[in-house]
């Protein structure tokens, strides 16, 4: 932060800002992680240019690859992606009481805003009261502080309400992007197309400052071998500082990138083994009780094979159909604290659902209400869903990692069960006036590198297969998702998420490019290449629910779907174009298609 300028008249702002003189020397920027790794690179930060590392080793990849009938090694490259949420960042901060601050924020967690602003102002956390307004879309782009700290600081200093709002261009320039990753993956299979081992290197451009580069890299690595049944893997990743735009959280969280490399290698292996790409995936699809490449045993509800079966016909019916599989954790996991909390309070005849879980449009309120009504059988009209608020609502963690339906959903269900108990004696709701019912769910997982035969990295995984259909001109005419997201708590909402995810995935794969030149973001909202509504293909969603009794024992059996829905889309697009024109594309966004013709 260099300077914050505030005025009571917006039109005077630019004039005032012009009074701030900043004396600086522009240095030669480091614009890619490879230059940052050089022995003669400048140190971008005092503690080095390597921000984070991850190494996932199971079995003996080198040996397995050496002994395999078919082996493929390819390099891949993915680029930045902009979240493109509907509402740019905005925050209003004002004094509260004698020595406190009230912050209206639109972030993915009110408690994160509270903690970080309190730390900045050196205040006790309870002196910083954060209240969530409607978020207007996040997709990971509103996990970090953006405008909140400026509003808080200025309000604290001048003791008046202060509003800080990014223009769209400021929003594009300053919030984090999806990490560009460059990868070298080797994948091997036997003569029957059974996967035997893989190894890979992932180098991520985490930009100029630390955001969530560490966890994103971890997830890219732990999911890099795909939703298949094999064990010999050796994946090393590095997240490296550059002078580029900062990379951070974005729906799919690293897995979007490594999935592209893995699925493309699998297409080549299938070709070498003379097995069609659907069949190849079906033979290897993880089954319940088998062990995922990251060491975790697949739950009885793991329904990857059913997802593939559900897209078989559409894949075979279309000569230019591309296919890809994916999986994604629900919950932050990896041994980190991962807790959902819901408080139900009966106030003036209404039951208030209080949780800090941030709703960015995915329908947290509807989901929590469904869980509670399912348990209590009460009329939904009796409930009021409150906005997240650090005074009123218990900390339910950040809306990230496809976690809220599992974590807060289960907490809501548990709170609902307590409410039901209280009502079971035949009491009327009015008799419970003033009572509170608290539900909490804490997911226990193992850290990366835990010395266990089968570490539980995440409380659950969702699985899915997608098919992208091209016409002869190379236009995407249809996108089909068959997904195992456990029990869909709200089918319309789940379908909406998946449809949105597919469109975002097509954008990531074929239409969007965020430009950063010499360290400066250079894209405008209109030039990034977001898919317009009129360009969206026909979308189909098939939900492959687990068998009765196999469901995850939390949140009515729901697993997350917020991120998975866009993970296999880009490789499915790349596969479709490969089938159309024979060109094996190794970078995203795909070039030389009707959507991006020979753009460099």
């Amino acid at each position: 932060m260099l300077a914050v300028v505030a005025t009571d008249k917006q039109e005077k702002l630019e004039e005032l800002c012009a009074l701030v003189e900043v004396d600086y020397t522009e240095l030669q920027p480091v614009t890619n992680p490879f230059d940052a790794l050089r022995g003669d690179a400048p140190l971008i930060h005092e503690d080095g240019n390597v921000m984070s590392r991850a190494n996932l080793v199971r079995g003996n990849a080198d040996q397995a690859i050496k002994n395999s009938r078919y082996v493929v090694t390819r390099k891949y490259k993915t680029s930045w992606q902009e979240h493109g949420f509907m509402e740019p960042e905005c925050c209003v901060a004002m004094p509260e009481g004698d020595d406190g601050l009230l912050i209206y924020t639109t972030s993915q967690s009110v408690y994160d805003v509270q903690r970080e602003c309190a730390k900045m102002l050196q205040l006790p956390e309870d002196k910083v009261h954060c209240h969530a307004t409607l978020v207007g879309g996040g997709f990971g782009g509103k996990e970090d502080m953006s405008v909140q700290q400026y509003a808080a600081l200025m309000a604290w200093v001048i003791k008046k309400p202060v509003k800080v709002k990014y223009t769209r261009q400021e929003s594009l320039n300053y919030h984090v992007k999806r990490h560009p990753m460059e990868m070298e993956f080797t994948t091997a299979c036997d003569e029957n197309g059974i996967l035997t081992g893989m190894k890979g290197i992932i180098i991520a451009d985490t930009g100029a400052y630390a955001s969530l580069g560490g966890p994103v890299l971890h997830r890219a690595c732990t999911h890099a071998a795909g939703p298949y049944n094999y064990q010999n893997i050796d994946i090393f990743g590095m997240s490296v500082y550059t002078n580029n735009v900062v990379s951070g959280a974005f729906r799919g969280f690293g897995v979007t990138q490594s999935c592209f490399a893995t699925e493309m290698n699998i297409n080549l292996l299938a070709e070498m083994a003379g097995i069609d790409p659907w069949e190849f995936r079906r033979r290897n699809a993880i089954q319940p009780g088998q062990v995922l490449p990251n060491g975790q045993t697949a739950d009885p509800n793991a329904n990857m094979a059913a997802c593939l079966d559900a897209v078989k016909d559409v894949f075979y019916a279309n000569p230019y159909a591309g296919i890809a599989c994916g999986f994604k954790n629900s919950g932050t996991g990896m041994g980190k604290k991962d807790i959902g909390r819901v408080l139900l309070s009966v106030e003036q005849g209404k039951i208030h659902i209080r949780t800090s879980a941030s709703c960015m449009g995915q329908g947290i309120g509807q989901m929590a209400l469904t869980e509670i009504c399912h348990v209590t059988n009460l009329d939904p009209a009796l409930f009021v869903f409150e906005a997240a608020d650090t005074v009123r609502t218990p900390d339910s963690g950040t809306s990230t990692a496809s976690r809220q339906t599992v974590m807060t959903g289960e907490a809501a269900r548990r709170a609902g069960e307590k409410l039901k108990c209280a009502l079971d004696g035949g009491k009327a709701l009015a008799e419970l006036e003033g009572r509170e019912f608290f539900g909490e769910y804490s997911a226990l997982t193992d850290p990366l590198g835990a010395v266990k035969e089968n570490p539980v990295s995440h409380v659950s995984y969702s699985y899915g297969a997608q098919v992208i259909v091209l016409n002869e001109e190379g236009k995407i005419t249809k996108a089909v998702s068959a997904f195992d997201v456990g029990t869909p708590v709200n089918i319309e909402s789940v379908e909406g998420q998946i449809e949105g995810g597919m469109v975002m995935g097509i954008g990531y794969g074929v239409t969007e490019k965020f430009e950063c030149v010499d360290g400066y973001p250079k894209s405008k909202f209109g030039t990034i290449g977001f898919l317009r509504a009129t360009e969206a293909p026909e979308l189909e969603v098939i939900l492959c629910r687990p068998k009765d009794g196999d469901e995850l024992p939390y949140s009515l059996g729901a697993k997350g779907c917020g991120e998975l829905c866009m993970i296999p889309t880009a490789p499915a697009c790349a596969h479709a174009y490969y089938r159309l024109d024979g060109k094996f594309r190794q970078s995203l966004p795909l070039e030389d298609t009707p959507y991006r013709k020979n753009k460099p």
Copy 2:
């Protein structure tokens, strides 16, 4: 291999070679490992551009660094080095018997030549008879095949004797070089200057083909934390293919490179902690019974502290003296087969010492003779040391990894003990005519990543400190080595090795640069910058022997000294220049000194 041309008249060779037409397309070369890592780099080999990886983790480096009072992160870069052995590569091959081949070779192992030529010609190994001639210097540069395969192939095809000899320029162009490495190292200590943790990334340029890039990288990593007593380390290394000259084995074997980074960081930490650089190293010097950063417990003979004590006066007496410490394994170790073998045979009244251990000038014969005479008390004049030969001499492994004095020395001692037993009954040597006495020593070690509290990576380590003294003009006037190499079996030979190593180390540090431009070696013997005899400074060698009874129980207590002797030299030079002019140099060779003025 494209084509081999032979003629009976050397003067016709060029004319004949000109008849070979080679049709090729010159592609854009990949000239550094960072470009090779990019996601859009061409695959230099089908199995990828990452040739080898290593990851050494002990304790929790991140945590230790975070909790440390002083932390320093710096980047370092080292360049190629040419061995500059006296005799370029030469080989003569000819038919032997009806279906065999006799090869006269000057390599570091006759058995390696046998195995590789037999594999190439698809012959049983015993049909390829290899005989060593005087080697004329190797330093690691004669471990790989260079000319042998050409001579063998042509002799096999034309059934006539064939000689292949490199000119000096061919030798420079085609044999392996020392790996350029680029590093980012973080080192931390507490308020008393006690080392607490380190982490590092090492990226090595292994060139266009596989040589010993894997083991070199391993050794760079396992020695990267230096001969000090601390445990929280996390070192990751990658050896990456490029289109440059091939890198491989070279005296110091990766440790020369990582030692530079480690020792330079230590100079900065000492400065931050306000402790002089000698004292800082003395406080941290590994002591017997303490655990080395790589997990191995230091032997009772580990004499690092005594080495530092021995150079204390010369360091303090000179304002522009630089200091560095180093350690180096003896023996290949790391769980690999590591065996020394000696056969003594009594023939016509003489005792023949038969071992395949290759002598490149380091005095294997003298060493073996000393071991045997020490045990048997026989007159050295009774012995004949035979040249290495796959028919006559048992396989004693390659002359590499400072291993022959320990491995073959112990095998010689054991063979000598058997001979002594046979003589002990009062027999005359004549009575033993025709008898053979076999000695074998097999070193047992643990592989990298062994799940053990204290893995034994190598059978022993040598330790040492060096001081480089500059005059006010920046000329190196004196180099002092205080080394713990165990028992010096032959003091003159050990001192000679160490003196030669210091001169080679000064070359590596301040005078030599091997140029490789666009993938083509561009240096000539006269332009590399080898230190001339007249430029060598005063050299002093101090041997810090272990206390009686503390010796390594092999080979009379000898440890290797062939490699250690040049490992600390370059950082000691860099430290001396830092004290002279205040410039902290982070790349080798050092620039802006009287030896290399502003050369880029």
